[in-house]
């Protein structure tokens, strides 16, 4: 359980395109932070540098205030769970869990007791004699978790740990990992490209793109106040509606539609953002015809063909249902809208739009 600090951390396989490009970060003891980003954004590289498997090109990694750049992976006391679980195929489950303790020179009975305790915590105590190939994906994932936790790591790293599980199991393991993490109070970094995983599990989200931290904050902050179009489109499901608009003295012209603007900006080229869940069917508003229908269970995702393109919106199933071709009007509260500068893709603070 350590406090983790990254100072200007950089990893460049090729000098001109660094995989990780100078990130700064401070994690509190016992915190569960999630690094979220698309593939190739540098999140796994960051993780492997924390584990000591890759050496940083420059910058510092500190555990509890001490620089560990030159500490070998085996001496860092970091637990990792990989997407593939990476269980040792020739060893039983018990020996897999015992493996990290081998190098701690614990007496055999003590080591075995600890392995059994941790197996109980992740609920695999009945599987200890099996081989990894005889386990289901969910069970393998629990074994991998037990192996990472048995040595009481300073830091627990989870590299896309849920990506290979089916939907139900994923839901289950999400809360399970969170429970275990809180119980052991181990500082944890979860690397994922799945925003739902990040928002449901993490205390804080570190949103990365192209080797840089784009935004760092609570899930709510990232959802409500994304700093840029990238974060806005990455967080939220179904994804945010984004359409281009032109600032014409306080009126936003988007295709053939005109929107009123709250707040002021001198930027001309804008991008308007609107989340599907913030749109309602209304008497007054943007007119369009229903184009696609995707039932999601409790809600239905409609694609509405409007004069500025397709706008997606969610309606609860209990409301009147619409068919393809129906003519409907939609409206929204201006406070839920976001406006971005089209050139820098940054969000313009306190600028919103509404249906005139």
């Amino acid at each position: 359980m350590a406090r983790i600090t990254l100072k200007n951390l950089k990893k460049a396989w090729l000098a001109e395109s660094p995989a990780v490009d100078g990130i700064n970060l401070e994690l509190k003891e016992g915190e569960l932070a999630s690094i979220l980003g698309p593939s190739g954004c540098g999140k796994s590289t960051t993780l492997l540098m924390l584990a000591g498997i890759y050496a940083p090109t420059s910058g510092e990694i500190l555990f509890d205030g001490e620089i560990v750049n030159d500490v070998e992976a085996r001496d860092r006391n970091v637990g990792i769970v990989f997407q593939s679980y990476a269980l040792y195929p020739n060893m039983s489950v018990l020996n897999n869990i015992l493996f990290p303790l081998r190098f701690k020179k614990l007496p055999k009975n003590v080591a075995e007791k600890e392995a059994r305790n941790i197996a109980e915590l992740v609920m695999i105590e009945d599987l200890l004699e099996r081989r990894p190939s005889q386990l289901s994906g969910g069970q393998q994932q629990r074994v991998a978790l037990a192996r990472a936790l048995v040595k009481k790591p300073n830091l627990l790293l989870l590299d896309e740990p849920l990506s290979n599980l089916d939907a139900t199991l994923r839901l289950n393991m999400r809360s399970e990992i969170k429970r275990i993490q809180k119980e052991l109070e181990v500082t944890t970094i979860l690397v994922t490209h799945d925003q739902i995983e990040a928002t449901t599990m993490a205390d804080r989200i570190i949103c990365m793109n192209k080797g840089k931290i784009i935004q760092l904050g609570s899930p709510e902050e990232l959802y409500k106040k994304p700093v840029s179009k990238f974060v806005a489109s990455f967080i939220g499901s179904p994804p945010m509606n984004l359409f281009e608009g032109q600032n014409d003295d306080g009126v936003i012209r988007a295709g053939a539609l005109n929107f009123g603007m709250k707040g002021t900006t001198d930027k001309k080229n804008l991008i308007c953002g609107l989340r599907p869940e913030n749109i309602n069917i209304a008497e007054q508003g943007i007119e369009g015809t229903i184009y696609t229908i995707e039932p999601l269970g409790r809600e239905i995702l409609y694609g509405l063909k409007t004069e500025t393109g397709i706008i997606w919106f969610l309606e609860s199933t209990s409301n009147a249902e619409y068919d393809i071709g129906n003519l409907v009007r939609i409206n929204f509260d201006y406070q839920n809208t976001l406006v971005f500068d089209r050139d820098t893709e940054e969000r313009l603070d306190s600028v919103h739009f509404y249906v005139e």
Partner: protein, 315 residues
């Protein structure tokens, strides 16, 4: 419908397997039967056959009333068997498996470029023509002061001159064959090591394992099957190999293994006596030994499982 299906099956079978069956029959099965047939004759240089006889085998075995099996091995044959066993076991154990493994482990631990460089060097003996390779050895071990080995021995260690052919013939043929044989193991084991998922190495490092523990607990278990394969394959290859022995040692008695014996008694230029039936009899015994060893090793290493399901776990 059903009958056309069956005839279709036979057509497919014929189309796909006929070439293989013809080749197998013509190049493997037929020669074995021919060999067995010739072994029981008195065929010699003139190729005349006067009838069936077991006289060739009496050159190896002599009937002894009170021995357990009713016969004993003759001294010369026993010596050939012993030399063959020594040669096969030493080359296999020291070079083809152990040294191949060491090469694979060290070259994969090095950086990609350096590793490939060393692997390429170790492939050179296999790639160079056998006569050139043998010639290089002859120069190296030349018993006079001009030989490379003796230059090193005399000028650096102050010993020698050493006459390898005369005093260490077995060591010489084991090393010269081993340098070639090790590269096969090296290649197969290198690719096996490469196919281990890299996350397993990361996990082991994070778990606190050093290079030795990783080799022992992660790499070696993954090499069990390739090692079994190399052992079986190379045992059979070494059993019948005589090319380099003949090129380096000539028909020397000190390295007259079974395969060498068969060759020198029949076809070897200059010394071959054209004793075809005798050579065929030796070859037949070699075939029996080969089949027996292959089945034994197959059984011991559970090779059946290797070829029925993939043994490298890809996750």
């Amino acid at each position: 419908m059903a009958s056309s299906n069956i005839s279709g099956k036979y057509t497919n079978f014929t189309v796909f397997f006929l070439p293989a069956i013809v080749l197998l029959g013509g190049l493997v099965v037929l020669p074995i039967f021919l060999d067995i047939a010739v072994a029981f004759t008195d065929m010699a240089q003139t190729l005349n056959v006067s009838g069936l006889t077991n006289m060739q085998f009496r050159k190896f075995f002599k009937p002894v009333e009170d021995s357990m099996l009713g016969f004993e091995l003759r001294r010369s044959f026993l010596k050939a068997l012993t030399l063959t066993a020594t040669y096969v076991v030493l080359t296999l154990v020291i070079f083809n498996t152990t040294f191949g493994l060491v090469l694979a482990l060290t070259t994969t631990a090095l950086s990609e470029r350096v590793g490939s460089f060393f692997r390429a060097i170790w492939l050179l003996p296999r790639m160079s023509p056998s006569v050139v390779y043998a010639l290089l050895w002859s120069w190296t071990i030349d018993p006079t002061e001009r030989g490379l080995l003796n230059q090193v021995a005399i000028n650096i260690f102050g010993i020698g001159p050493i006459n390898m052919k005369l005093h260490h013939p077995m060591m010489l043929i084991v090393i010269s064959n081993g340098f070639i044989g090790a590269s096969l193991g090296m290649i197969i084991l290198t690719s096996a090591i490469r196919s281990i998922p890299k996350h397993l190495f990361y996990a082991a490092q994070a778990d606190g394992a050093g290079p030795l523990s990783i080799t022992w607990h992660i790499i070696l278990p993954a090499l069990r099957w390739p090692l079994s394969y190399i052992t079986i394959f190379q045992t059979l290859a070494l059993l019948v190999s005589f090319e380099y022995i003949f090129l380096i040692m000539g028909p020397a008695r000190s390295t007259m293994t079974m395969a060498m014996l068969a060759y020198t008694k029949t076809l070897a230029p200059g010394v071959g006596a054209g004793l075809y039936a005798y050579g065929a009899a030796i070859t037949m015994i070699l075939i029996v030994i080969g089949i027996f060893l292959a089945l034994l090793l197959w059984r011991l290493s559970n090779m059946q499982r290797l070829i029925t399901e993939p043994r490298i776990e890809v996750q």
